[in-house]
Symmetry: C2
Subunit: 209 residues, 2 copies
DNA sequence: TTGCCGCGTCTAGTATCTTAAACGCATGGC
DNA sequence: GCCATGCGTTTAAGATACTAGACGCGGCAA
């Protein structure tokens, strides 16, 4: 009896009698299953590992990912508790239109302004409003892999040394001049695999002033 | 048997044995019940009316608002389908720290720039990035009360005539020189109760260019 | 091969949510 | 007063989500 588990999602009771409301189709939350699966894979976890962290069973994870059940808010909260992300962020995470993440040194746009010289990260800044910081990583320094903060964007440039950056399961080694730009809600991790300090100029949203 | 419906929300099983994880208390989605109740009241609906629109029963609404149950994603989606708002927006809606909404003419900050003179809506623009439009309402014009769009902000100034504006259940009559500024996710409605045209300069986010 | 392990899936049983229909309490007209 | 109407709440029956455990599969080492 595992066929018609759900009478669709949305308007499904009264197919006739139109023209009552604005009746716009709901395109939000296309399917939670795929989102969860992708998020889980990004973290490199198995269903059982996630289940253990979240305090649910592996079967539940499996059923949710197959969209066989519609989890309760409480359950979803528990599951997402496995990796630090809020439900709202989870529901609005844009998995598909993944914007360009890694930039090589030569891809940066250089902007000279009198004595000062800017190097613009990302080819166009549209839809990107950020703020910068200055960081130094000693050899072996590691932020851990659970660095999934709240909504926002994060970017930076490696000044010196080598930086191993993991974003959404993708790993890259960046050297001086290279840069990055990604959605902060994607799981990410900074690690200095070298033998000398690594200096990075990074930035994040939202603008704090 | 209506007492211990839920073993709290979050860490509730193992009160002892600390220092295991980062174990940060989850402050997101404090309680869905209050949010739903407030949203419903803003629309001036009864539990039964909302239930009818949403395609659920009034009992369900009642139980959810009391936090006696944790609705499934599907149910919550149906309920929120009663008024156009997404789940993510619903969960992130900031009910409490309601920013100032209404401004009288004399509260606007005047900014002169050569021949041109701007009147800044809102005392400070921090965290507010918007774009304007020009609107005219004939006598009796009414946008209806379901004007709840997606995330964003909305503001404007009445140029001439009288504008009756409803925001989050609060009603105000604005005359020439008065202005408004609110979160677009709050239910709002524009109506011209006068006998002459009402001209308004309004604006909304996100910036479309 | 054999055994062991971990993976994702499925099934039966339990816990939880959802429904339908009552209840108690107000308010307003007759 | 009395009835009708509408409100939010509650309860038993039904539907659904969740659990615990087993299943089949594939990889890997002995």
């Amino acid at each position: 009896m595992a066929g018609d588990f759900r009478r669709a999602h949305g308007a499904g009771d009264k197919p006739a009698a139109p023209g009552t409301e604005t009746a716009e189709a709901d395109d939000d939350v296309p399917d939670i299953g795929s989102r969860l699966k992708e998020l889980r894979k990004m973290h490199g976890l198995s269903q059982r590992e996630l289940a253990k962290r979240a305090g649910v069973t592996n079967g539940t994870i499996s059923l949710i990912e197959q969209n066989r059940i519609s989890p309760s808010i409480g359950s979803l909260k528990k599951v997402l508790g496995g990796f630090p992300i809020s439900i709202a962020d989870f529901l609005t995470l844009d998995l598909k239109p993944r914007r360009k993440v890694f930039y090589e040194a030569k891809e940066l746009r250089e902007i000279s302004k009198g004595d000062v010289s800017f190097r613009l990260v990302g080819r166009d800044t549209r839809g990107r409003s950020i703020q910068m910081m200055h960081e130094r990583y000693v050899p072996g320094a590691d932020t851990g892999e659970e660095m999934l903060s709240h909504a926002g964007e994060e970017c930076g440039i490696v000044i010196s040394g080598v930086m191993e950056l993991t974003v959404g399961g993708e790993v890259r080694k960046l050297v001086a001049g290279d840069a990055f730009y990604f959605d902060s809600r994607l799981p990410h991790r900074f690690r200095n695999p070298g033998t000398i300090d690594c200096v990075v100029v990074s930035a994040c949203t939202p603008p704090s002033f």
